[in-house]
Amino acid sequence: VGEAGGEAPEATGLVSRHCRLRPVLPADYDYLYRLLVSPDVGARWRFRGASPSPHDFPAYLGHGVLVQFVADQRATAKPIGLVSAYNADFANQHAWVAMALDPSVQRAGWPLEALLLFIEHTFSAFSFRKLYFEVPAFNLGQFASAIGRALEEEGRLRDHEWYGGAWWDRVHLSLTRERWACLRARYRGIMSP
């Protein structure tokens, strides 16, 4: 609660021009299971190629998660992916963020609105200083142009992950609250319905 007589902060919206974030419901499990264990997405997601049984999937999906949403395309009301914040460290005020995107929309820019909404929600709802992203090097190409512009590389674990018959680095990227304050002003237009 702020000072007496102070205005309440503006509510955080979960709707952008093209995307909507909503809670994960049991009805989403089938779609999410297929997405997160698919060959294209599974190796990039937190499961790293593992495939929990469908029966255990809901528990795996929520393991270590602080908050997560299904991202829908507003025009079709169909899901396009999942955004999650996990391994939150409240003592040191940071958390990790992951996004799984349906292969059918991976080349377009508009699905990233879902990630922008989620970052805004996470920074707004929790007092984190930084959000981290862990990315296997073979996946960096999907958003390489963001590094240096929006994200900073903070660490690199050499030859950390086995995928496709080779060892790959795992890269740790960060987004600070201060940098997000600049970015959210830039993206305000597309983050609004």
Partner: protein, 71 residues
């Protein structure tokens, strides 16, 4: 995106050379909106070249390096 477009980009440059990933697509979208003041419904998969992109917005000053003369 703007930095890339300010270099060797011509109207014949494939858009895939400019929009190298999802973030670049998002940035180009925002850059065009900033320059035009118009909210765009643009899907980079619908056009092939920078020229196509410009043609879609002929008459609008896109001053972020994407131009009919190649910036």
């Amino acid at each position: 995106v703007a930095d890339q477009a300010a270099g060797a980009v011509t109207p014949d440059t494939p858009l895939t050379a400019v929009v190298t990933d999802s973030f670049a697509a998002l940035e180009l979208h925002v850059a065009i909106e900033d320059a035009t003041g118009v909210a765009l419904e643009w899907d980079p998969t619908l056009v092939d070249t920078v020229g196509d992109l410009y043609a879609a917005y002929v008459g609008v000053a896109v001053d972020r390096g994407v131009s009919a003369s190649g910036g």
